[in-house]
Symmetry: C2
DNA sequence: CTGAAAGCGCTTACAG
DNA sequence: CTGAAAGCGCTTACAG
């Protein structure tokens, strides 16, 4: 397997017997090239299997666009993240833009490092589901023209566009559904309190309780459950207590799954009501089917990408927070009566 | 929000009062720079918030490495693809390499276009779950030094490394499990026959039947089911037939889910046995829990990335096919007797 | 319509 | 140890 030399415009020019600049014109589709010359150039390019070097042209080009955007997600392998990825990819593709993505695992240091790595590669913009609590480190890069859109969680110490779900109202709505079915002792199971969405959803949980004149029982509140296992353990403890809650509200995807496991193990899945935030695959096939407050990650990803490209195209209007509504999907688990 | 000018090495050099080349040495960590000069340069760089331009340095650099790899998946949003993504990302990260990924949706034309887009950006290597049937179009690029690793499906009309699951043996093993439980009339539900893995798994299905002296009944074979809905329709038809199979073998993830839906709808989920190829989230929480032949996508992604980087680092040994074993996970659905 | 020169931000190859 | 010149592959700005 012999190594070939990658042909350049210079090589194409030599073969076609024209100047470098003429090749450049043909490759870039300039209309001002003589038909005969142009096809001569195209023939030479095809013969050499010439492929333009986008990285070189972007270096010289006035706008300096790399035709790449960055995408920083919690974890490319989780369904929420990957659904955002896919919709952003589809928007980027229509513009010939590539997506450079990475996972943060809720680690603020990783956020900074990955952002730095993306900026070294001069991405034209960045869509970020942030892990950290201070985004002022992005200010300088933004001032140098890199577009920035926050997703799922708003920026802190930085004014930038964001696309978030209706977390607080959505959570309140889910809890209200339980209250409607007669529940008074409703437990809360939530992810890391450092995550803005967890805070918002917990606030919504409290809103619904307050509205109904129910007191917040601290024994029924479990925060900082970041894995399925942690959620399962916490839920087990709650439902096997001598004074157990009659309903559970789980703040997130994995927490809901851990909670379902705990209920199964205790044989209580048809006795204890459950509403979860975030829909998940097969939630409707479980017994009982799980009632959820669903986000629309595909819509979120599409909107975020559209805003990003508008900024890349020069939109300089003030930063805005865009709120995407959530939707209560009533299945069986939320309708279990007290 | 005023637009700042992005500082270059030239600016840092001017501020530090040294030559461009000295700045280059400091930024690249050359050891031969005077301590005092070096810290002077670092101070200037920090003051200007200088960030090197990786794209420019890679252009000039001898090896021409972009420090990016491409990743072409079926769909970044499906769990199998995104799990490969994540493990490849982890390997790439340890080397400071970025991942540029995209979805093919089983479309050969999209495969070619995305590959071309990645090559324009001069990725150092490409991990590909191919959609098309002819990969000779990649030959020229490979000859110019771009590393190539195929995943899930072997290359055709091109010699290149690949990492695939033990598809045929794994499928045979799953079907054998059903035969062990007394089944003689076993239906097959499979994805597009254009997909190599579907062909292999169907071959494994036939192997197990032949081994047990069972005839292949064409009425029980359903190919080209590419969506959950298609699989559900086909499975419904099969199980509501007047002479229905007593067991089903589903060749893939989504097909299995569609099949479960059909069984539920017919109220046969505890009567008709089922083994699926591919594990999926919550398979163990369904009623009955679904027996599967599991692949190990994380191991596949890690191995593919390691092989790719070995090639990028200059390994010129002959291309190899690496087979990753599958594993039968016995849950309840496969043990339903005839 | 076509091309020779300069330059994007950096590194190589060479002198001092 | 440090720097001036040349050049990576391309486009810009300008002449003809």
């Amino acid at each position: 397997m012999s190594q070939l030399i990658r042909p350049t415009m210079r090589d194409v020019a030599a073969l076609a017997g024209v100047s470098l600049k003429t090749v450049s014109r043909v490759i870039n589709g300039a209309s001002t090239v003589d038909q005969a010359l142009a096809s001569q150039v195209r023939r030479a390019a095809a013969q050499l299997n010439y492929k333009p070097n986008l990285t070189a042209s972007s270096l010289r080009r006035g706008d300096g666009r790399s035709l790449m955007i960055g995408l920083m997600l919690e974890d490319v392998a989780n369904p929420y993240s990957s659904s955002i990825y896919r919709s952003a990819e589809d928007v980027a593709r229509t513009r010939g833009v590539g997506v450079l993505a990475g996972s943060l695992d809720e680690d603020p240091e990783r956020e900074r490092k990955l952002a730095a790595a993306l900026f070294l590669r001069r991405v034209d913009g960045l869509i970020i589901v942030p892990a950290g609590q201070d985004h002022s480190y992005l200010l300088h890069e933004r001032q140098m023209g890199t577009a920035l859109v926050f997703v799922d969680r708003p920026p802190r110490f930085l004014a930038a566009d964001s696309v978030v779900s209706d977390n607080r109202a959505g959570a309140a709505n889910g809890v209200r559904h339980l209250i409607t079915h007669g529940h008074r002792r409703i437990a809360y199971l939530g992810d890391l309190t450092s995550i803005a969405t967890a805070q918002e959803r917990f606030a919504g949980f409290q809103d619904a309780l307050r509205e109904a004149g129910l007191a917040l029982d601290p024994h029924l509140i479990r925060h900082d459950l970041h894995t399925i296992a942690a959620a399962e353990a916490a839920a087990s403890e709650l439902v096997t207590d001598r004074d157990p809650p009659s309903a559970l509200f789980s703040e997130q995807n994995l927490v809901t799954i851990g909670t379902v496991r705990a209920l199964r193990r205790a044989g209580l899945e048809h006795r204890t009501a459950l509403v979860g935030f975030d829909d998940f695959p097969l939630a409707d096939l479980l017994e009982p089917a799980v009632t959820v407050v669903a986000q629309d990650p595909a819509a979120i990803g599409t909107l975020a990408a559209e805003i990003l490209f508008r900024r890349i195209d020069g939109d300089a209007s003030p930063a805005q927070e865009h709120v995407v509504p959530t939707r209560l999907i009533e299945r069986a688990s939320g309708a279990i009566p007290r």
